[in-house]
């Protein structure tokens, strides 16, 4: 069915573009959630999961209860089937009628998932179900439809094994130290944390991992659990670097780390581990050192000031000058190339945020300003260049395509005043389009 067809039948249809990456990510998430029911979960791309529930059903009160719980946990409209082996269950779930205890022999031949020519050939021969097919000798089937058809049929009938490849759980990195006596000094606690970090670094080194988020929980005797969490821009496992961030975090706490009656235990969890290969120490590793020191600096300042206070400029695909760029936290932004300016008129070095309203004397309808007043001071315009007309982003506005709703068109001028200062000034709206257009100062040129 085409989209136009579907829309004609259901005018309120909500549509979304197909995003295979997000789909597979969601399937991974679902597979992770299924770990609650069985340790053996396999993916059946692009939209299926195979759960080996051997020996698990009685824990949840029977197979029916298990299936209903799994469907509730999935949260989607899903079809399910139980069978003695994976291939049969898969065929029943995808091509069956949905009833319990359905026989695979009653499934249509489409369950073999052959191409359309082979399927129509089977139907023309009067073979409608898998049962019809299974009663025939396999040799003829293989000669006509290929080995794959026979393999699938045998797997569904249970004559050949259909192994699954379960996802393997990664053991989380979580370390704990318990003390025989409560630890009463903060410095001692920090020493223990450093020790935990060293152990964690050894584990991560073996697995070639680096942590993006480190969480330290200090268990106090009176059951208060202060938590210290630090995040890094790049995966790290160097205990000294994490320790520096933790000290920075302790400094920014509103109330200092109070041992009270002492700490009973300290736990460290490494969350969000990412691949970090061991690095060979080069003889001339000056560049790497520089990159490391920048990343460390970004992390330190991010912990102290807040992540969004350390930012990079990134280009945005927008039309208006103030929206054509954005400040993105440096831990998230990847330094990417900026589009080459090309043939656009020059842009200022600094943008005023927000644009400053100014009183302007200018010729009507579209002459550059002759004189303007900004913050009580009069500036005579000596030289001017323009206008550069920048239209409003009508396609982003609801109803913006109808006349009069698009928003104000801007006419930008590059001007120089009598003192030699160069400004970027614009008139918001055209004469005739907007009553009494206002002027704004938007940038400074060197």
């Amino acid at each position: 069915m085409t989209l136009a067809d579907a829309r004609a039948r259901c005018p309120d249809l909500a549509t979304a573009p197909h995003d295979p990456v997000a789909d597979s990510r969601e399937l991974d998430r679902l597979a992770g959630a299924m770990i609650a029911f069985t340790p053996l979960v396999a993916l059946d791309p692009t939209d299926g999961l195979v759960l080996d529930v051997t020996g698990c059903a009685h824990l949840l009160g029977g197979e029916d209860e298990l299936v209903s719980r799994v469907l509730a946990a999935a949260g989607y409209t899903a079809s399910s089937a139980l069978a003695a082996h994976a291939a049969a269950a898969r065929a029943l779930a995808r091509h069956g009628g949905g009833g319990r205890g359905e026989d695979v022999r009653t499934l249509p031949v489409a369950a073999l998932e052959l191409d359309e020519r082979a399927l129509s050939g089977l139907r023309r021969a009067g073979l409608k179900t898998l049962g019809d097919l299974a009663a025939r000798p396999m040799a003829g089937l293989a000669a006509r439809f290929g080995e794959a058809a026979v393999m699938r049929l045998r797997a569904i009938m249970g004559e050949a094994s259909s192994p699954i490849t379960p996802l393997r759980l990664v053991e989380p990195i979580r370390l704990e130290t318990r003390f025989p006596e409560p630890l009463a000094r903060t410095d001692d606690a920090l020493d223990v944390i450093e020790d935990l970090l060293t152990r964690a670094a050894r584990i991560m080194e073996e697995r070639q991992l680096g942590g993006r988020r480190f969480l330290v929980v200090l268990h106090r005797s009176d059951n208060v659990r202060p938590r210290l969490a630090v995040e890094t821009g790049q995966p790290v496992r160097d205990p000294a670097a994490v320790m520096r961030l933790l000290r920075e975090r302790i400094d920014t706490l509103s109330d200092p780390l109070d041992p009270g009656y002492g700490f009973d235990a300290i736990t460290l969890a490494v969350q969000g581990a990412e691949h970090l290969p061991s690095r060979q120490i080069g003889l001339e590793s000056g560049k790497e050192d520089a990159e490391d020191s920048i990343a460390a600096l970004v992390d330190t300042l991010g912990v102290r000031l807040g992540e969004e206070r350390v930012s990079r400029l990134v280009p945005c695909d927008r039309h208006l000058p103030e929206k054509a760029q954005g400040l993105v936290p440096a831990t998230q932004a990847r330094p990417g190339p900026w589009p080459a300016g090309g043939d656009t008129p020059p842009r200022p070095l600094l943008l005023l945020d927000p644009p400053q309203p100014v009183d302007v004397i200018a010729g009507v309808p579209d002459s550059p300003p002759q004189r303007f007043r900004w913050k009580g001071r009069l500036h005579d315009v000596r030289l001017a260049e323009g206008p550069e007309r920048i239209g409003a982003e009508w396609w982003r506005k609801r109803g913006g395509h109808t006349p009069g709703n698009a928003g104000d068109t801007r006419d930008y001028y590059r001007i120089e005043d009598g003192e030699g200062r160069r400004y970027w000034i614009f008139r918001s709206g055209l004469f005739g389009e907007t009553p009494g257009p206002r002027w704004y100062l938007h940038g400074l040129f060197p």
Binding site: D289, A290, E291, D292, S293, I294, A296, L297, V298, T300, L301, R304, L305, R309, V310, S311, R312, L313, P315, P321, A324, Q325, L327, A330, P335, G336, P337, W338, A340, G341, T344, P346, R347, P348, L349, L350, L351, L352, D353, P354, Q356, K375, G376, R377, R382, L383, A384, E385, R414, I415, E416, E419, G420, R421, R422, G443, L444, F445, P446
Partner: protein, 256 residues
């Protein structure tokens, strides 16, 4: 980044001012400018800085600084024509002046950045001889240049190696009565262990993608065209304890 141009006068002055080192590595520099000349001061810093052309430049400022008249953001598209990649820019917004100087000190200790620029407005009480000396020690350790941009404030004693005053200069008009390429008026107010008081007019040369410098001989220009606060020099730093920042003399011209 700069190229010399002989003064286009009939008889060159007998002793031309020596070419300075601009904003050299491992040193602390102060650049004074008024709010209206802020883009010029920024362009001067970025062009004159002696830095690696690939490593990031750190710009530290105080978020929502009340003393700045307007909030200004760098415009990435405006950087490229000056030969700078905006992706190199790393912006840090500190909470207050003390936080700004502390972050600046932390940044100055790293050898990763190409340069560290601190954007400051107003009196900045925390920036004294001790604070500037700390920045110098950090810069000498990490071998990167550090620039303190000072907006709307008269010069004050500090340990900085050089002190500059930057303002916009009238550009050379194009044929269509349009503003020409960027032009700046730069004055070296003070330099440790070297002559000071020279002035230059810098004009952007699009063919070579660099600023061209043209020395201005102080005698040839009238007192009216001298830069703001030109004949006002702050005392040299040294063993003498600096006095309070109340200065007799003409304050820096304000734009408001």
């Amino acid at each position: 980044m700069f190229q010399n141009r002989a003064p286009s006068r009939a008889d060159p002055p007998p002793e031309a001012p020596p070419k300075p080192l601009w904003l050299a590595k491992a040193q602390l520099h102060e650049v004074h400018a008024a709010a209206g000349d802020w883009a010029s001061a920024m362009a001067f810093c970025l062009a004159a800085i002696e830095a690696d052309a690939r490593r990031p430049i750190l710009l530290l400022r105080v978020r929502k600084d009340r003393r700045a008249q307007v909030r200004m953001n760098p415009c990435g598209e405006g950087w490229a024509p000056l030969g700078l990649d905006p992706a190199r820019l790393l912006i840090v917004d500190a909470r207050d002046d003390a936080g700004l100087l502390r972050a600046g000190l932390d940044a100055a200790r790293q050898s990763g950045p190409a340069a560290v620029i601190l954007e400051t407005w107003g009196n900045l009480r925390e920036y004294d001889l001790v604070a500037s000396r700390r920045l110098i020690l950090a810069a000498e350790q990490s071998r990167i240049p550090i620039v303190v941009l000072r907006g709307d404030v008269p010069p004050r004693a500090s340990a900085a190696h050089t002190r500059w005053t930057v303002s916009s200069a009238p550009s050379t008009p194009l044929e269509t009565r349009a503003p020409g390429p960027p032009a700046l008026l730069v004055e070296l107010q003070r330099r440790r262990g070297g002559p000071a008081g020279m002035q230059w007019r810098l004009e952007w040369n699009e063919d070579n993608a660099c600023f061209r410098e043209e020395p201005i001989v102080p005698a040839s220009i009238g007192p009216a065209s001298a830069g703001p606060g030109a004949d006002e020099a702050a005392p040299l730093s040294g063993a003498v304890v600096s006095l309070a920042a109340v200065r007799a003399g003409e304050p820096l011209r304000r734009t408001a």
